[in-house]
Amino acid sequence: MARALEKLRHFFGRTARLRRLEEEMRTHVELLTEEGVRSGLDRAEARRRAHLAFGNVLSTREETEEALGWPGLESLGQDLRIATRSLARRPAFAASLVAILALGLGVTIAIFTFVRGMLWQPLPVPHPEQLHLAVNPAEQHRPYRLGAGTVGRLEADPALAGRVMAYATNTQLALRQGGGPAEPVSGQFVSGGFFRGLQLAAAHGRLLEAADDELDHPRFVAVASWSWWRQKLAGDPGAIGRTVQLNGQEVTIVGVTPEAFTGLSLGSAPEIWLPKGLHAALRVRPSASIIAKDDGPEMKDWVRDDRVSWLNVMVRAPGGPAAAQAALDAAWQPQQRRLMDEVDDAQEREQIGRQRPLLQSSPQGFSSTRNGFRGAALTLMLLVVAMLCVTVANSSTLLLLRILGRGRELGVRLALGAGRWRLARAVILEGVLLSTGGAFAGLLLAAWLTTVLGEWLAPGVPLPGVDPALLLGLAGLTILLGVVLGAVPAWLGARLSPQAILQQRATGGRGTLRLGRALIVVQLAASVLMVAVAASLARDFQRAIQTDLGYARTSVITTFFDVRGAGFSFEQDEVVTARLRAAALELPQVRAVGFATSGALSRSRSASGVYFRGPDVRLAQNSSLQHESIDEGYLDAMGMTLLQGRAFTAGDREGKPKVAIINQRLAREVFGDANPLGRRYGFGLTPDNDDWEIVGVVADSRVNGVRDEPAPMSFVPYRQFQTAPGCLVVRVEGDAAGVRDQLRKAVAAAEPTLMFSSWLTIEERVQRWMRNDLAAVRLTAGFGILATLLAVIGVLGTLGHLVASRSREIAVRLAIGAEPGRVWRELVRDALRLGLAGAGLGLALSLGLLYGLGAKMMTGLHVDWLALAAAVGAGVLAAVIGGLLPARRAAKVDPLTLLKAE
């Protein structure tokens, strides 16, 4: 302890002691000199001898410093100055290294920030770790939809008071302010305890409370999201208390949510929140699963009927979910029994009996966007790692070459008595300086890239800033990187012998170049991997976007609307559709007009459990057969091909025999090669008069998604299925985008109260559908191009150095008559060898990646031999291009000039 104190005292008195020792040494040399003078030497000679006797001042000084303990703090400052000066002497070199490092680090930070925001960011509420979501273990842990009855029973549990949150899926509402035109707003119906459970406080006004959502007496109030309030209500605090019209009903805006809160699902932020009891008054049907024997519950029953499951449930459970799970089980059982009563089929009843909503820790809420993003995130992370490898290998190569180029300077310093460790430290310091510069530049780049990436890959998702923990990690990474960067060349430099360097014999020996080559191969391999990923994605994208959808693309334009929201009843549907059709047909270019409930590429679909009649069916039951309700013009307007039987007519309406047109896939699945026309299916276990008769077969089409294989499905007349038409389809002569504006005006004028969503051609919807895929292609292509460019630079530098160091040998060979072409070819062959090695390794990496992790990666990433071949070609080409320039220089060596200079 006392010794440690002593050391510490010495440490702080270090500078003084060093100065004192220096004075002592000076005195020593002077005494020696005087002695010499006294013995009859002249002063200069005496001085020379004194220095000889005293020995190497530099190493003595260094040794003394080391003996003082904690060596180097001071010399560190010196080395820092040396390193800075040495870098400043070659600003282009320093700048390019900083740029390369900035690129690598910037991309890494940006991608990690982005991935963290997408995957690991908790909800911006107090104690998000307490939040548990009821999920369905049987359905990939997707949120369980429960009835309002179950929610009510759960809320009634005194242990869970103020801890239960229920919410429906977002729905589109028509908003009118002060007599203006209707505009769409995305609303979410939530339980009165929603915001209390989240422990959120209003930014302005108040949030919803239990009294807003009383059974049968919901208040006509709404809470606005921060961003919607800023955009549509001009951020005016005076807007609190204002009344707006939602789906024709007067609703009062009572408050604004905090800015950070954008709902529980990443990627689908509601703009307003409403008490769930209001859905009936607003005639809104959020997504629901309904199990009912009769025609189905009225909308007003949704808040009290257990047969309608439409609410996701989240519970705040500070002490773990066990008690809340027991309460949920108890609350769910009555609904479960009620649902089982509605089912005739014993097997199905048993299936419902097995179901159980499970509380799962969900500090981030739930998001299908996020789940879909996992594969992309893994791919991105792997690419980032590859990119980081490339940048480190690349900058290490450049630094190594730099050290080799500075062999003379290092040799002189070694000969002058500088310690090897000291020399190595100087080189490592250069590495640290460069990586620090790279980190700062990289941080700036990352700040910019993060926003760009967000807009590109996940528009509308609120992403966090760069994580402080990430910054700390970055600082560590930077120093490590710098040390590694400097250590390799430093180690090699320390092995140099001063004589060899001064005689210009050494270029670092074979080992150095082997290392340089290995670094090149690593860079080439990583770039081949990245190009392979990019090319595979690009080819898959090309294939996917050109898929035959089974319906027309450019000539068809579609739009969506909500007749119920606009206040029309079922009886009025036919009048409305007739008016819209007539308005569209006014335009001379329009060829056909049709209506459907969901529409193609709309991300919405409906399904019902059905039983196929007849003893010979190959599949007697389909528990969720996709149904699309259409009018008589739809198939023709979409350009779908009727293969067998007849299309619907205006006569297929309520009161007439129920008819259906099934697609080819369903026909084959259920009836095999037998003729499906005239066959029947129904919703009940046993045949009855409400069964549907199959009157036609239509060709398969991809209505659910560009990438999704066509699903087996059935089309039914909307007048018989009793659903509201929600999608208008117009087919025109030529490109439908050309008549978009005319069509929009004509149709809107025909039904001014109806609100239409975007008018887009199918082609445009396909492009929009594939937007993320396109962004991924661009991103990976950017990675690939960057990595390849860096690899070219690396090859260029290494082979350039080789040429420079062998210039004497080359000059001699040329002088004794070797053809320049031969020298040239040799170097290109060398580059080619490097390229082949790198490409081979890259190919192996890519295959390993694609076969090993293919399923977990980005959609559309699979082994594509043509893409792999292109990547290998690009890698070899990069090496050859990098080799050409040094080879040209070698061939141009003038033997005379060079040998004279020796």
């Binding site: 020792l21 005494l31 005087e34 005293f54 040794e63 080391e66």
Partner: protein, 116 residues
């Protein structure tokens, strides 16, 4: 630490023995400055030890760090400011130990060499 440059008849000092020589010199001479210590070692050895005189300073620092010697400013014979080093009590004990140790090792080495 000590470099044998050219003279083949001069002896290279064993690693660590310089410290011992410095301690012994101080014990014999009393307080002395660096120049004096170096001069004394050369004299005593009859100029058979080739010493880079500068190496005396790292040795002095090491010994002072160990607490075996102490130092203070004084004036040299020719009226120069000089740092005078003197043995501490711990230094005296250390010297005794080292001398004993050295003699043991030297005797052992001599015995082994003579056995041939």
């Amino acid at each position: 630490m000590l470099i044998n440059m050219s003279a083949p008849d001069r002896t290279d000092l064993l690693q660590g023995t310089l410290d011992l020589l410095v301690l012994k010199t101080l014990a014999g001479l009393g307080p002395q400055h660096g120049f004096g210590i170096a001069r004394r070692i050369e004299q005593v050895s009859g100029d058979t030890v080739m010493l880079n005189q500068g190496t005396i300073y790292p040795a002095l620092v090491r010994l002072e760090e160990q607490g075996w010697i102490d130092s203070e400013w004084g004036t040299s014979d020719n009226n120069r400011r000089a740092r005078f080093y003197s043995l501490t009590a711990a230094g005296r004990k250390q010297l005794k130990d080292e001398v004993a140790n050295w003699q043991r090792v030297a005797a052992l080495v001599s015995a082994v060499l003579a056995a041939d």
